[in-house]
Symmetry: C2
Subunit: 545 residues, 2 copies
């Protein structure tokens, strides 16, 4: 399998050899580059492994672990940073301050149990690592003092679909499998998890669950949470295995304690997940709106209608422009229905009626009805899709060109959305103007619930070389402050990690923090599991409450 | 408001004056009574309050609480038992062993805060009380030793819709409101929570959330959980208020710790909940099947189709007979689609195609298409509905007639369902035969998920007067043992309470129990909140881990 032998980049998105072509880069210069006066900016080199200085490992791999522990420079560099803008900047400049002392590649769950035991005994901090796509500092071994060292535990070898229950449409799957490999294993059975976060290529099932990833349907069961039947989790105290049932009302749901726990309680090793039959029918349309506000009204009505589109993605004019989906004069709504069971044209027609009543116009080329396998997507929705899939590579190139490129997201009730969106855009644009001079802040709605949307913001601006971290911090702080104070959540699906802590700490009820800390002290008495994520590191003397 | 001035029965279902008519009772004698040789059985009297002996209150109501604390005999008797079969038997025979010493009727959240503080200080056990419909021993003040007394805190005065957000289709609602009153307050706004558990009349919003009640759509968002936007909870340590957002990926969901916590962490006082527009369109059909197994296949296909019926209820032949929905020779499937937005006839037609392919036949009178308001339901589905709504009263009469009547439920993946169902029925029928001689055990599927159904079992048998508790315990133990050992959950929506503890303790991962206990110790340091429910009472010295 070519897929498995390719080496992941230690900096940037994806695998070695992947990335934009020279022609793509030229296009980028012409569009964004010229907009920001960077059309002739030198493309900063991606870092070379031989130039990366890493501090010496502070701990030695015990012999008993054999080859599963690595001190290889590439491995350590690859596991030092996530994929946030500030991570990419630091990585490009060789700033690998917190490399893991060791990188573990366990072959099985027993290896993970042994690693967690050893780390607890030796006070070595554990960083669970799936695909490494965290944009919240969730995989960086920046754990503060109080530990003898750090081990990043990479689950890449736990990548199999272990068991398949066709009749119940469920499978037992190892947590380390990345999106494409997972779908490849399910495809021969006509099944799909259909979980497509933007990080799909470089994120894992366990990572999705540990961070409560969104990437499913636009208006229904958006989160991976809803597809988890049961979990196995290795904690330093032992294995937690929840019962595999379709539903249970027996006490607070054990699975829900681990969903979103971001590695602070243990390492998810496998999960029974619910699957879908691969779609056979798809009906899609792209609708133009002069008014973003009226388009958002249409999205609200669709989300409240019970029509359940698989995709319902509203792009504001700047987002349209940025993603090459149009000329940036109008908002675009992409609506897609899909089903393995029945034609979805009737649902699409009803959604279009809602759109027309809000002033939406169907694009000429956009009404598509297809058999879904081998689907071809033309027009704006196809261009959007292409941009969406390539975004990781595009971002790497933009960053090397000197263009800041980052995102943040929230969710907010519909009644507060117009003011929320206006203020968040205003505050963020003001911050961009102040620190970058010019720039672009745009909004899209990727998920819409009956009670409110999940707005997603992209910031693109010319950065000042050497000042990017401070520039982005100023913008992110302003945006986060606005998000929180206007009633939104600090994260709809990017997780908390280390970067969102200041705002998460305010969003989360204080007594819930105490309860979560108590649960952690029980499951991780030595306090070694991903310290600093979600709650403060509190290394303990091994008592269990 | 007549509704509010009626007094709830202290024994049995509903309000004083409600119940079966003499004609209803005569019908019951003729049908079930004659089947079990009880057609001439004396109707045992419902207990009279003047005959009930309650132990003297062990604690005195502090003056500072004024009239919110009651030692009235009716109040104490009413709050002693739930609505389980064994509760009704004990109540009928005057066995009120564990009355609350005091019953509190707080007027507001501040009263609840004060009560929880006083109880923590005085080591008085707190029993949160909504509608009192627990069938799991969740409201009985049977708290073991270690407490100076018990207070049942009845939230009946916290019964208002406080705030309504029409655009976001959400409302902030006090937790003590019962089902009918809640819907009455929402109806003028064209909205509904549409949460209709069988206990609807005598159960509260807070109770639904605290016990993770099911009562919503048959195949999608079955639980109240999915309708909770945010919560306010009074714990002995203070108030927890979660952020009101449509969705958040910020850490483990705080709401989910309290959903299903059954009062052991605190008292839910209010919640922002998601609402639905009241349905305008409904399409319904009743389908007959010769084979229950093939009918279950049809239910599976419907649940996996993405058609999302509001109701999809499969009754086995004995359940059909018991509920007067037919002659008991066939299985019946009632499928209903409803929408506030669009006609649902097309969905119904597709569901019927699935049924026909599994050997289902549409009943002549059953294909209905209606404007939903003021709906009239004829035929089998109407008879089912009538039986369902009256079931609490029917059960009281059956019990007085000497007929055992109880239920249990589970959920199980589809691939295991045929064997699970066969074995659970076999084991339970064998137990019924052994302890009652004759009897009836039937199954219905009330909720069906893509990965499995939630089978619901009803046991009806002639009981031996004076031996009912032992008889039911033997049957329930056998059924529970089978349920657990065959992979099911001990409860899909009846909660754990005190009665399900032995099996819940086996179902729940041990380390999750430790984590939950630690969370409880943080929020309820004195261990006074509903002791004995979910986890063992562990009165503490006030430390917080």
């Amino acid at each position: 399998m070519l897929l498995k032998t390719r080496r992941r980049k230690f900096w940037g998105w994806g695998y070695e050899g992947d990335g934009l072509t020279a022609a793509d880069v030229a296009d980028l210069r012409k569009s964004l580059g010229s907009r920001f006066g960077l059309s002739h900016a030198k493309l900063e080199e991606a870092p070379r492994i031989e130039d990366i200085q890493l501090r010496e490992p502070r701990i030695s791999p015990p012999r008993s672990f054999g080859e599963i522990l690595s001190t290889d420079r590439w491995d350590r560099a690859e596991h030092t940073l996530g994929q946030a803008y500030q991570d990419l900047i630091r990585g490009m400049r060789g700033q690998y301050q917190h490399p893991p002392d060791l990188v573990a590649f366990p072959r099985n769950e027993a290896d993970i149990v042994a690693l967690c035991e050893w780390c607890s005994d030796e006070r070595v901090a554990v960083i669970p690592y799936g695909g490494g796509s965290s944009v919240a500092g969730g995989v960086e071994p920046d754990v503060g003092d109080g530990f003898t060292g750090t081990v990043s535990i990479d689950l890449r070898h736990l990548d199999k679909v272990l068991e398949l229950d066709r009749n119940s449409r469920a499978a037992r799957i190892q947590a380390g499998v990345l999106g494409p490999d997972l779908e490849n294993q399910l495809r021969p059975h006509g099944l799909s998890l259909r979980h497509f976060p933007q990080s799909f290529e470089m994120s894992s099932l366990g990572g999705w669950i540990a961070t409560r990833a969104a990437g499913h349907h636009a208006v229904l069961n958006t989160y991976i949470d809803d597809y988890v039947e049961s979990l196995r989790v290795v904690t330093p105290r032992g294995i937690v295995e929840t019962r595999r049932v379709p539903a249970s009302g027996a006490g607070p749901a054990p699975d829900r304690l681990f969903m979103g726990s971001e590695g602070i309680l243990g390492i998810i090793t496998e999960s029974w997940v619910r699957l879908l039959d691969r779609p056979r029918f798809r009906a899609s349309a792209t609708i133009e709106f002069d008014s973003f506000a009226r388009a958002a009204d249409a999205v609200r009505e669709i989300a409240q209608s019970g029509l359940y589109p698989a995709n319902c993605r509203l792009l504001d004019p700047d987002q349209v422009l940025l993603s090459n989906s149009g000329d940036g004069t109008m908002s675009l709504l992409i609506v897609t229905f899909e089903s393995a069971h029945h034609e979805m044209q009737p649902e699409l027609i009803q959604a279009l009626e809602i759109c027309r009543a809000s002033g939406g116009r169907t694009q000429g080329d956009s009404l598509e009805k297809e058999v879904a396998e081998g689907t071809r997507q033309d027009g704006a929705s196809g261009r959007w899709r292409e941009w969406f899939i390539r975004a990781g590579h595009t971002r790497d190139a933009m960053i090397r060109m000197g263009i800041m490129n980052s995102t943040f997201e929230s969710s907010i009730p519909w009644s507060h959305f117009p003011e929320f969106n206006a203020r968040v855009l205003e505050v963020t644009r003001a911050a961009v103007k102040e620190v970058c001079g010019v720039g672009l802040v745009c909004c899209r709605l990727a998920y819409a619930y009956p009670d409110g949307p999940a707005p997603y913001y992209t910031v693109v601006a010319p950065a000042r070389r050497g000042s990017e971290l401070q520039q982005w911090a100023a913008i992110k702080d302003a945006a986060s402050e606005a998000t929180l104070s206007l009633g939104g959540t600090i994260t709809h699906h990017h997780a908390v990690g280390r970067y969102h802590r200041p705002w998460y700490d305010r969003e989360r009820p204080p007594l819930f923090a105490d309860a979560l800390r108590a649960a952690k002290e029980v499951l991780d008495p030595a306090g070694v599991m991903n310290p600093g994520v979600l709650i403060d590191p509190q290394p303990q003397q091994g008592h269990s409450g």
